[in-house]
Amino acid sequence: MQEIEEFVIEHTTDCEAPNEQIKRESIFSNVKYLILGILFGIIFVKAEIISWFRIQEMFRLSAFHMYGVIGTAITVGAISVFLIKKFNIKTIDGERVIFHPKTFNKGQIFGGLIFGLGWAITGACPGPLFAQIGSGFLAVIITLLSAIAGTWVYGRFRDKLTH
């Protein structure tokens, strides 16, 4: 089997969910991510993790549900990553799967704390924001717009923040 040359794509600043596929994807080919997103959105709603109440239960240590969901997801994810690395499993296009080691910076603490504050208030992390809107909680459109604004303000003042 032909070995695929390592191909590093430059990202201006690290993106946590980068596209590392070498083969170009058409708009049509991106539909598979739409479908995966749909399945993911359905799971979000049916697992009730988009619920403000479930997030409150988690932070009030009154229910195991959210800890169970996140813990199981990490376990399944970790086993999958281990198997992909161990058996050098290729993508459907035959490319080598690229993993991204993360480097520590203080932003992970400061930003993490700020996100945590918002998480308990809104009852949502970014993924569930989209699912909440789809579920008919239209006021969350405001939350999403504000989250986009927050991201923009971070980008604007990034060089003035401690990292």
């Binding site: 993911f40 799971i43 697992a47 109440f53 993360k102 996100f115 945590g116 970014p126």
Partner: protein, 189 residues
Amino acid sequence: MLEIIKQPWPWYVSGILIGLTVPALLLIGNKSFGVSSSLRHICAACLPSKIPFFSYNWKKEIWNLFFVAGILLGGFIAVQLLSNPEPIQIAASTKAQLAALGVKDFSGLMPMDLFGVDQILSLKGLIFMVIGGFAVGFGTRYAGGCTSGHAIMGLSNLQLPSLIATISFMVGGFVSTWVLLPIIFKLIA
């Protein structure tokens, strides 16, 4: 079968399915799982304003926008076709604590007395949507990821920075729940 699907899904079923998103994205397109980057791509696409952080080829990352559009559609489909007719079951202690703070609506996934459209222009809207949302967007970007990018993808790949980020998310959430929310509910009462 449909009746079973309409029930709320147990944590282990949901957890396994969410965990499988990690290898699914890696194997169908060499993509690392992460949602908050979509917010950055929206900034880069709509209002880059010559800011270096938003000056990159966002079209190359467009898969992420397809993915979040799917999440939105999935939420719609789940509610329209697979909705649970019963009210949500909330742990008794959480329900009692929230009722004591002043939450009134316990019928759906979100309390409508805080997140209803009629609250947008009120102080509740300012706190729960505008300020809360801003903290989510600013914080996740500052941290370099959210629950998906750090807690699930990062920890699956055994990354220490992701563990630090995840612990910080949780600490922030506990402080918000136990310190900020009582103050907020006094303000809006």
